[in-house]
Amino acid sequence: MGQNEPVPSLLLIEDDDAIRTALELSLTRQGHRVATAASGEDGLKLLREQRPDLIVLDVMLPGIDGFEVCRRIRRTDQLPIILLTARSDDIDVVVGLESGADDYVVKPVQGRVLDARIRAVLRRGERESSDSATFGSLVIDRAAMTVTKNGEDLQLTPTELRLLLELSRRPGQALSRQQLLRLVWEHDYLGDSRLVDACVQRLRAKVEDVPSSPTLIRTVRGVGYRLDPPQ
């Protein structure tokens, strides 16, 4: 993070006062601007008012829960969302990832881990100085960080965009889930491969003609994923 870059602004949606206060304290000390909301409704209102760069979202919220908040944000916005989940129980994580979250951390969360995840997610949206690539009707403009399909702009989250960029950088080459986790999510060696799977699903829904029979992003059995130029 460069010195002259603007300080990223976060929105923390967490109903528990103690956690909210503590995380706000910790994240502020890590150098973030933090706005907080105690419920999903407040969070959505603040999102419209303040346009933060990233949302840290607790799953267990009174009223509309974190998954629903996530889904509502995704209808209009592609900004990164990190889920705070109280359980690493699989169903929670899977539902969270399917509702559009970019990453998740399990409570009790360490401030440093959360900070690292936040920075990794933010880095995904950073521009590269590179050319563009074409895969059939799909055009990836790396310089402008845009993807068009049949001339139409696709609304991709930074994570989806980064995943597509990493795959398109090595067309025809299979990348393992662990490799993708390191490249895109900057996770350590123990990344959760479900992050990759969920993100691939969302990406396919946006870039493939028929998402259930993908022709661009192919699954390589026993290895991972591969971006194929269409025949």
Partner: protein
């Protein structure tokens, strides 16, 4: 010592009891058969004995009466016509005539001829009937002159006797004409009657045998009807003992066995209810632990975030913290970390207990995983790794990391470095001999160079909160590490065994199947049967991800 002795003798007597009860069980059947057989035998033998005896008397008496009447007649008609002192020829002639009567007996006449000599007349020729064939007692009785009284009108009577010559029964009779005349004897074979009686005896014998066989069969059938409910009861009791608590007997009838079945059913019901109660209580306490560790997370999250701020403050050059308070802050920081680990482990354990733990599979290089695990914990200097790259397995990498971290961490803590980790492939499945076919197993061995594990501790190393020594009540670990490692191996269908190496030091051997997909596919089928767009069996990771396509 005495206790041991008692135990031994108890075991012996129990064994003897077992044999005894088996014997008794079979002898119940045997006893029934024997008793039935005896009853049938007695009844049949006495019935046929009486029948034989009565028949025999009736047959013999009838035959005998007819013969004797005929003989008497002949004596009066023929011998009475003879002169007082007949000649030999006359006697012989008369005897022949008498023998030609309807009864077909042989006759011997004895008289004195006019010269005073005794003469014989026999119907059977020279080899035939002679006086020698007549028993002496009979001769005496016949020739004895009796006093004439009011009760006894005649001086001589007809006497008879049954004799057996060779195998043939005969009737011998004799009498003397009153008022002088020859003494007559007759001999009649009873062979036809004996033959009839023999065949009757045979028939009765066969009937007795049939009755015996019938009674044995009947006893067998009865034993079966009595013993079958007993056997059913035995089977039901065994099933109950095997834990099938819903075992019940069908109650039919109102006899003692039905009563016993009812009692059994009541007992089984009570047992089932009690076990269900205990299971519910167990479940409740398990849920309590799960809920509690869950509730602990919220405050812990807040505390952890804040202690990190304090920690950074400590590390900050020129220290913003009062040196007097610094040890306190450090203690809070380290203990918060410990508490975090403990709660994390408790959560893990409750997930295993509740059966909600799931595998997230990925294809990994085992050697890379081990290197990464060691590297991440800065153990590179203390661990020797003997593993070739290229051993791939389809497992849950996070769970493998948990297992490795616990095994290696435990070895470092208790065994001392260098810890040696070796990996090899095993073509057989995890189960060894009963092994599953397929891709085989990966065997990871963690060996330390410490004093090893005491024999009495060895069976408990995987127990929760088991501390190797009572004098060391507080170890650095949570006391759950090895237990969690084992649960993680089990959920893969793998196994961890602990042993002492002959060269000293403890050896923990982890065996994991190389492809756990089969295990998780069953789970996945149960909870989620959505199709996969590209690869029909992409394992859990793939299946879950791919399956979402339809919804996306």
């Amino acid at each position: 010592m005495t206790q041991e002795h008692q135990g031994e003798s108890r075991g012996w007597s129990a064994a003897r009891k077992g044999v005894w009860s088996r014997l008794r069980f079979t002898s119940l059947r045997l006893r029934l058969v024997v008793v039935f057989g005896l009853v049938a035998l007695t009844a049949a033998v006495s019935a046929s004995g009486i029948a034989y005896w009565l028949n025999r008397e009736a047959v013999l008496t009838r035959a005998q009466d007819a013969v004797l009447r005929g003989f008497e007649q002949e004596m009066q008609n023929r011998a009475g016509a003879l002169p007082e002192h007949p000649t030999q020829d006359e006697l012989q002639h008369t005897a022949g005539q008498m023998a030609n009567s309807s009864q077909r007996f042989t006759v011997l006449l004895v008289a004195e001829n006019p010269e005073g000599r005794t003469v014989y007349g026999s119907s059977g020729g020279l080899n035939g009937f002679s006086l020698r064939d007549v028993p002496a007692s009979l001769r005496e009785a016949v020739t004895e002159r009796q006093k004439i009284t009011s009760n006894n009108k005649y001086a001589y009577h007809l006497y008879w006797q049954r004799i057996v010559d060779g195998d043939t029964p005969y009737l011998v009779a004799g009498t003397r004409l009153i008022g002088g005349g020859p003494t007559g004897y007759m001999l009649k074979s009873l062979e036809p009657e004996a033959k009839d009686l023999n065949s009757l005896a045979w028939s009765l014998g066969i009937a007795t045998g049939l009755a015996l066989i019938g009674s044995a069969l009947l006893a067998q059938a009865l034993a079966t009807t009595v013993l079958k409910p007993v056997q059913r009861l035995g089977t039901a009791a065994r099933r109950l003992g095997e834990g099938k608590l819903d075992t019940r007997l069908r109650v039919s009838g109102t006899d003692e066995l039905a009563d016993l079945s009812r009692t059994f059913n009541r007992a089984a019901e009570a047992l089932e209810k009690r076990v269900a109660d205990m299971a519910a209580r167990d479940e409740a306490s398990r849920r309590f632990v799960a809920d509690m560790s869950h509730e602990l997370r919220t405050p812990l999250t807040a505390i952890t975030a804040v202690t990190e701020v304090l920690e950074e403050e400590l590390e900050f050059e020129g220290g913003g913290i009062d040196p007097m308070i610094e040890p306190a802050v450090r203690l809070v920081v380290s203990e918060t970390r410990r508490l975090n680990d403990l709660v994390e482990n408790l959560m893990e354990v409750t997930r295993f207990d509740a059966g909600t733990a799931r595998l997230v599979l990925d294809d990994v290089d085992v050697a890379d995983q081990i290197t990464a695990c060691i590297d991440a914990r800065a153990w590179l200097d203390a661990v020797e790794l003997d593993a070739e790259r290229g051993i791939h397995a389809r497992i849950d990498p996070r769970r493998l990391d948990v297992i490795l971290a616990n095994l290696i961490g435990n070895a470092l803590k208790h065994g001392g470095s260098p810890v040696r980790v070796s990996v090899r492939e095993c073509p057989r499945g995890v189960g060894g001999a009963e092994g599953t076919e397929g891709p085989g197993a990966v065997v990871i061995e963690v060996r330390d160079h410490g004093p090893g594990i005491p024999e009495d501790v060895l069976p408990h190393v995987f127990d929760r909160f088991y501390k190797a020594s009572a004098s060391r009540p507080r170890s650095e670990g949570s006391g759950l590490g090895l237990s969690i490692a084992l649960e993680n191996a089990h959920i893969h269908g793998g196994e961890i065994t602990a042993a002492n190496s002959p060269d000293g030091g403890a050896v923990f051997t982890l065996r994991l199947p190389r492809d756990v997909s089969a295990l998780t596919e069953r789970d996945a089928e149960a909870e989620d049967t959505r199709g996969d767009g590209e690869s029909p069996s992409g394992g859990t990771g793939g299946t879950r991800g791919e399956g979402a396509e339809g919804d996306a």
